[in-house]
Amino acid sequence: MTQVTFTLNSETVSLETTLSRRLLDVLREDLGLTGTKEGCGEGECGACQVYLDGALVNSCMVPMANVMGREVVTIEGFSQTADYAKIESAYMEEGAVQCGYCIPGMVMATGALLKTNPHPTLSEIKDGLSGNICRCTGYQTIFKAVQRAATEEVDE
């Protein structure tokens, strides 16, 4: 066991764990942050996506050794931001959520896309969400939601 310290949703967290343990398991099991989902467990589906030092990553592919001293933002942390509020209302307006299992990952990927490219084309949206699998919606409503989030101003 090793003492691992990192920043999680703006707060410092320190816990005992093994270096090879996945960030996904620490988030869900040790810290009770179950917004981050496990889908495929091999980097295909994107349900477990979080930000690591601001970059979108699959938390099923990150061992705790690679989290030490770094900054993690999960869907719980992201949901406190204005960027999230815009994405959330756009997803609701477009009816882009069915079973909802993929949505935390979709929202994280949407946030990452809009941060680097505030006005993406449809093709860029598809590219930005290409690491996320949804088995309900057929994706069209999700693409529309991202377009809506990119064009609408937020009421704050």
Partner: protein
Amino acid sequence: MIPAHIRPESLEELLTALDTASYTIFAGGTDLLIRKRQWQGAERRFEEPLAFINHLEELKEVVITQDHFLIGALATQEDIASNEALPDYLREPYRQMATLAIRNIATVGGNLINAASVGDSLPVLLALDARVILKSVAGERSLTLDELIVDKYRTAIKKNEVLTQVIIPRRHFSGYYYKKIGQRKASILSKLSVILLYRKNKNLEDLRIAVGAVNSRPLRLKEAERTLLETGCIDAYLKALLESFHSEDDKRSTREYRETVTLDIIRKQLEQLFS
């Protein structure tokens, strides 16, 4: 038993550790964590302790000199894909690998040491005559890609060595062509990939062709390339290529598809180039 993994604070500490015990070097982990996958939530079981190196800043640098691109082994695939100072012919194959969330973790060195037959960074680096630096306590040595990659998932790296840098000679190319073929565009292992790099002024002055995912390791026929450049005889080059294929049917594709499509793609490009 839980193996005693290590997380050295410097390259020097890593090299000393590698010299005294046997470790599996763990960089981004996008291949290793998945290959050792067990049931959901279970800790991965590795045959030997891991040496985590992903945090070593000294191995992340990308430096552009007058003659070379020096890529730190721990630069991520996205570091290459998104680096506007690097040429498109190098960025494009990385850009088409995996997905953003994987490219943000997966490393340049990891793709080489994993040495999968479908490693999409291998053909372009082979075509560019890239070399790798392997360091150990005894010093360092430099290998070509051909020397490094022995076979599918097998490299010439020794247990006390770590790959620290990829050295790519800077050459002027007037154009390139890259094609990756898979079941879908993103997040897919290639059925095959082809890269062509060339310099054409009045005449064709330089031409390199590399093929990925067809054979167990990336394929480039330097001799046949030279002859092609001198003679312009496309048929002879394609014949040599066909004879060097040893593809197999697998879950991703068939031998026939891989070989036929690879030859068709290259023929079309060469016919345009030599016309």
